[in-house]
């Protein structure tokens, strides 16, 4: 996944309801809209919109099973975001070492 794809992941996670949905889905194999909306103080329609946003960010996948749509967490996108942190951190470690060497040579 390209770095451009990280923005949507964090935008998606900037909402507390969506974070709650991700945390709930993390503990379940799959869940339906009704199951996910049951514990939340928002309408099913709102939950559905949040799930769509999570889906666009690549964090949630939906599959239709009969009359129900089941939602599943696809957390790989978080791994890509973490990879950005690892990569950029390693680059600055290297650059700061080079700066120190440059200043002390």
């Amino acid at each position: 996944m390209a770095r451009d794809a990280l923005g949507p992941v964090f935008s998606a996670l900037s909402d507390p309801t969506r974070r709650h949905l991700v945390e709930t889905l993390a503990g379940l194999e799959t869940a339906t809209l009704g199951e996910l909306a049951a514990g939340l103080p928002v309408t099913r329609q709102a939950v559905s919109k949040h799930l769509a946003a999570l889906g666009e960010a690549g964090l949630v996948e939906s599959t239709r099973a009969g009359r129900n749509t089941r939602y599943r967490l696809t957390p790989d996108a978080l791994g890509d975001a973490a990879a950005w942190i690892d990569r950029v951190g390693a680059q600055w470690d290297e650059r700061l070492r080079a700066l120190r060497d440059h200043l002390t040579r």
């Binding site: 390209a2 451009d4 990280l6 923005g7 974070r19 978080l78 975001a81 942190i85």
Partner: protein
């Protein structure tokens, strides 16, 4: 989404500032070829031997204290991040602090959640 790194270098602030902002010196340790105008709105180009090119725009300059610039890979102009370099006097020289923040406005709390989720769910899955 943010990365922070810090290092104390055994040099005076003035010297460190020059090493960080003078294109000739930057070409000696940071990249292979550097153009940089250190003033608000000033532009920069960093070129590396492997062909990588990053472009930058300076957003703030506080002489010898702080430099803020936006930069991005020439091949990925949408992936802009903001680099803030701060210098502080330290016992053994100068403390250099670098913060690189991805352009989307993520609060620390959000990032903490993402990291928790990563460690809780992504890593165990990856180990299977």
């Amino acid at each position: 989404m943010e990365v922070t790194r810090e290092l104390v270098v055994p040099a005076a602030e003035e010297d460190v500032w020059d090493a960080l902002t003078n294109p000739e010196r930057l070409s000696e340790w940071f990249a292979n070829d550097v153009e940089l105008t250190v003033e608000r709105g000033g532009e920069g180009v960093f070129r590396w031997a492997d062909g990588a090119v990053r472009r930058a725009v300076v957003d703030a300059v506080d002489e010898r204290r702080r430099l803020v610039m936006r930069w991005w890979d020439e091949d990925e102009p949408a992936a802009v991040s903001v680099v803030t370099i701060t210098l502080d006097e330290a016992d053994e020289g100068t403390r250099v602090r670098v913060v690189e923040t991805a352009s989307a406005p993520f609060a620390a709390a959000e990032w903490a959640t993402a990291l928790e989720l990563r460690f809780a769910f992504v890593l165990p899955e990856a180990r299977l």
